[in-house]
Symmetry: C2
Subunit: 248 residues, 2 copies
Amino acid sequence: MSSEKSCVVRHFRYYHPLSDEDIKLLARLEDSATPVRAGTVLWEERDEAHEFCTLKHGWAFSYRELENGTRQILEIYLPGDIIGLREFAFSQRLAGVQMIEDGEVCFFPHRNLVDIFRQSFTLTSILFAIASRQQVLLTERLVNLARRNARQKLAHFILEMFQRLRQTEANGSDSLRLPLSQEILADLLGLSPVHVSRTFTALNDDGLVFRERYQVKIPDLEALKQEAGFDDRYVIENMRPLFDDKES
Amino acid sequence: MSSEKSCVVRHFRYYHPLSDEDIKLLARLEDSATPVRAGTVLWEERDEAHEFCTLKHGWAFSYRELENGTRQILEIYLPGDIIGLREFAFSQRLAGVQMIEDGEVCFFPHRNLVDIFRQSFTLTSILFAIASRQQVLLTERLVNLARRNARQKLAHFILEMFQRLRQTEANGSDSLRLPLSQEILADLLGLSPVHVSRTFTALNDDGLVFRERYQVKIPDLEALKQEAGFDDRYVIENMRPLFDDKES
DNA sequence: CGCTGTATTGACATGCCTCAACAAGTGTGG
DNA sequence: CCACACTTGTTGAGGCATGTCAATACAGCG
């Protein structure tokens, strides 16, 4: 089993058991990992799009740059995530992608995904489920940006990351490493860096979030969820079985 | 050809030609249309989710209600759209759906979509493309909400609708029917209804958008795009062919 | 013809932004 | 191992876009 080695396989398994056949197909998505340094831009908006990539190590983010000089960060990618699914149907990149830390990525052509559609019903369903979930998370972020104040936005984002990290690195700790500068947080949450700083100290003063450097501690998870209006209905545990299990 | 009758088939054909086989499969998604009155709630958040539906006539929207009493509208659905794709992988509804006008909808079980995965590679690819595009639109909305001021938000939304309507009802006119109250617009754009009203009059004063009742006229499309920071890179014309055409 | 929901307008409040100065950490080369 | 530059975070003062509340106008509909 190459199962332990591949974070993509691990990722997919959350949704449904995989046959050896499927694992072999997936393995092709992780050919030839290439190391990348922090700050590297994997691609920019409007570049030609012929490939996806999977993230093996390190964090990355995707972003859009606006005509008014601001930048909106759309997505934080963690190890095991597939980057670029969004553009599946487009010939141009619609968002840039940049590495946050040193890491490793594996590029693979669009073609491979289409092959998966052709060859594996299970993987197709899982991919659809992943896309569906991604959209749900995106929706939640949209609500967060549109309807909440700075305090809630920040709290909510921290909780989202906490939950996503839990899913893969399940340790029962009450803290997480969040290697994001306040500028990045600002660009994520539609705030100014200055206000992110103020908001952090406010949350700190109220004993909801303690942070030093990139380490964030959540002393009272429930209190923070309350504050953020956080709702974990979209955690993976609430997802349904993808299909009645008649074939693998 | 049942092509002219079915708006779902028409919708799918934008992405790729369909075989008769595929059309038959799709037809099952449009069994038994049921009429629904304006204001009808098709389902609410947290309802059990066993089915999708396609919209045959009329407009609908999906929404989330927040703990703080506000509501965020996520999506406006037009005839031909599939409603509920978002929840494909979930067992609960994550958003409510309500009709804006009288219309007609067709429910069909999740099962049917899974059958499509099993039986038609072409339709699977198209569905993936639709999901991909939906996500791109959602992303654009997110940017709009996070980064733009009220003027731009409203202008941008009008342009998005203008473009979507063009795609199906291609008439060269410079105006569109937008049967949305200012309260709905406010809930879409993360503004207060009061401010929507002010923004409309501001756009009117500047000669960018003329509106009376639900009829909206755009005298200078380019000027409005400029104002809104609107970017049509994600129009359907920029989408790539889904696969090398070896089978239907 | 009045009733009910929808839109407009004004006065005032406020959350977040901007600018600017300063502090604290981080890395680099001598 | 220190000195310096650079990046990142903190704090304060003042401004502005948008929100809230409330009163009025308007439109569609029975």
